[in-house]
Symmetry: C2
């Protein structure tokens, strides 16, 4: 027995199960046979300490970056957060937007790669990670996302905005300096269509928003704050996946106000700290699932934004590629219990 | 200029584009800005030479494996292929099957983890990979898949079967000895539902099977054989993704006969050799997309099986996680040209 697992409780002995969730309508296979103790889940790719000597995201090296969109506070060399263009954008703001309705086309379809791909530098200092920041500073980063999403919506040429963070090379980060990304997309992405259609089906049947309904299962609850709660979702696709959900029904992330952003900042920081501690500083992604820009009023009752955090603990292999089902080695009620008990 | 790229043609200078395919209805972002030469695509995780001293899949060590289902040829110690149970199955054959129709349930749903999870050991000899085998021997492996799929169908308790191969640790292989896997699943997986619904939509509109229609674009063609062709699909989610497609309309992989299996064996071997040569022996997956077991006769005209090969060249990161869209750094017409020209 390793020292880290001394006195550690075994996970309950559970039988394999297949579950479908109420948000994406995905089937997930829970197959706990191989793992028995919480400490069996440790990242094999913990993030190394990085070398800041060549980092253009560091304060004082702004001229080496792609153009700046805005900074906080504005017009000062002592910025705390900067939003800049991505030097290697996946979508390009200099192309023409596709025609309206092209994302509804049946059959093979191609449109220009118009869109926006921005980077949010979350801190001027290289060794600092997002979860090192004070809760209020994490809240400020969230408010920067809100501001940029509102700007992109105002353009009128985009259908969806994806806010996401890749932390660690294995999670897709090409820069070690703490940052996140915002992509404005001219079509409605497949995951968004699927999510809204699954949530509509449940709303039509039950009259309930399936995200509002997530707070009913106390076994899955990890922590909560004034306006948000963090859960391990019932059909988590990934081991130790966490969703942070606004208590109050809200379709659009960009409606987040200052006091809720500060509150969410604290809960997000706590969840990232808990994952880092429990899983040995794993690479991770977080993504914000929100409503498309042109959400019809009839969809508002079942559209509810949330933030999903996914530690990178395994590999997408042939089974997942073929079926779209994931195999998860830990039940969410066990992951929730482990994460409830670990200190932030 | 590195020696490997000496005299190498640059890839054409293309502008970012977003494409939707006709099989999965997925949007893919083509963003070629960062890569300019075919040799820029080399695996950073080539498969190491493995150590066979502790391998239970090697001939003579059969007693260390989970129970055998069948071997080829039957009842001989000098087998060439064995089908065995997975020692750590994700689904368990000893549980009760879920009730019929449970996969149609709306809302949160859980069923037992009933199912089958088998391993096909493709060769008795550790250093041999699938693409080292003679075309006929690859064909024999395909016929073993067919036989096992027919057995699983005959049980009557499964909805779908996923045949897949993980090659290399980064692609999810936990054993280095060449093998593939077959999972019998008691629900219809989400990718299968999405694929059939997308293909139905196109069939209803055009009267055509969208997989039959794939052979019309010569720019995407890589190679072909008597009964099959290999293409880089129009909206490839992954760099150098390949689909091998039966020319003749056919819903079910398990209808593959002996002569077609031999023919497919040759083309599959050629494609794996080309990927290994062009991309520096990358980890890869292949998966067989086929019809669910209980396919209604009305779906037969637009259901068409094919084999998808995906080299692991990048990471699934926040954007893909959030949107279900992939970012591909090489256009399929360029990947097809490169793969047409590389020797097998």
């Amino acid at each position: 027995m390793s020292s880290s697992s001394e006195g550690e409780t075994q996970l309950p002995n559970r039988t394999s199960e297949i579950r479908k969730d109420t948000v994406f309508g995905r089937w997930v296979v829970f197959s706990p046979a191989r793992s028995r103790r919480p400490s069996d889940f440790k990242s094999k790719n913990p993030n190394p300490t990085s070398n800041p000597t060549s980092c253009p995201f560091c304060i004082g090296r702004e001229s080496e970056c792609a153009p700046e969109i805005f900074r906080v506070p504005p017009s000062t060399p002592d910025w705390t957060i900067r939003v800049i263009e991505n030097l290697y954008p996946a979508l390009r703001r200099d192309l023409n937007p596709p025609h309206t309705g092209s994302d509804q086309a049946v059959g093979a379809c191609r449109v220009t790669g118009f869109g926006f791909h921005d980077v949010v530098i979350e801190t001027p200092y290289h060794p600092i990670t997002l979860s090192d920041l004070e809760p209020e500073a994490v809240g400020e980063v969230l408010l920067v996302y809100v501001e940029r999403v509102r700007q992109l919506k105002a353009l009128g040429s985009l259908k969806y905005v994806q806010v996401f963070k890749n932390h660690g090379a294995a999670a897709g980060a090409s820069m070690t300096h703490s940052h996140s990304q915002i992509m404005g997309i001219p079509v409605i992405p497949p995951s968004v269509t699927t999510r809204l259609s699954c949530m509509k089906e449940i709303f039509d049947l039950t009259g309930k928003c399936s995200v509002c309904d997530l707070q009913s299962d106390q076994d899955l609850m990890i922590n909560s704050s004034t306006h948000f709660y963090a859960i391990a979702p019932f059909a988590s696709s990934y081991a130790f996946e966490i969703w942070i959900v606004p208590r109050e029904h809200s379709a659009d992330f960009h409606e987040l106000d200052h006091s809720k952003a500060m509150d969410l900042g604290g809960l997000l920081k706590l969840m990232l700290q808990k994952l880092a501690k429990q899983l040995n500083n794993p690479p991770f992604n977080f993504v914000i699932h929100t409503a498309p820009f042109d959400l019809s009023p009839s969809c508002v009752p079942y559209s509810h934004w949330f933030l999903q955090i996914v530690p990178h603990m395994g590999t997408i292999a042939g089974f997942e590629l073929g079926t779209g089902c994931y195999i998860n080695p830990i039940f969410p009620e066990d992951a929730a219990k482990v994460l409830r008990e670990v200190d932030g």
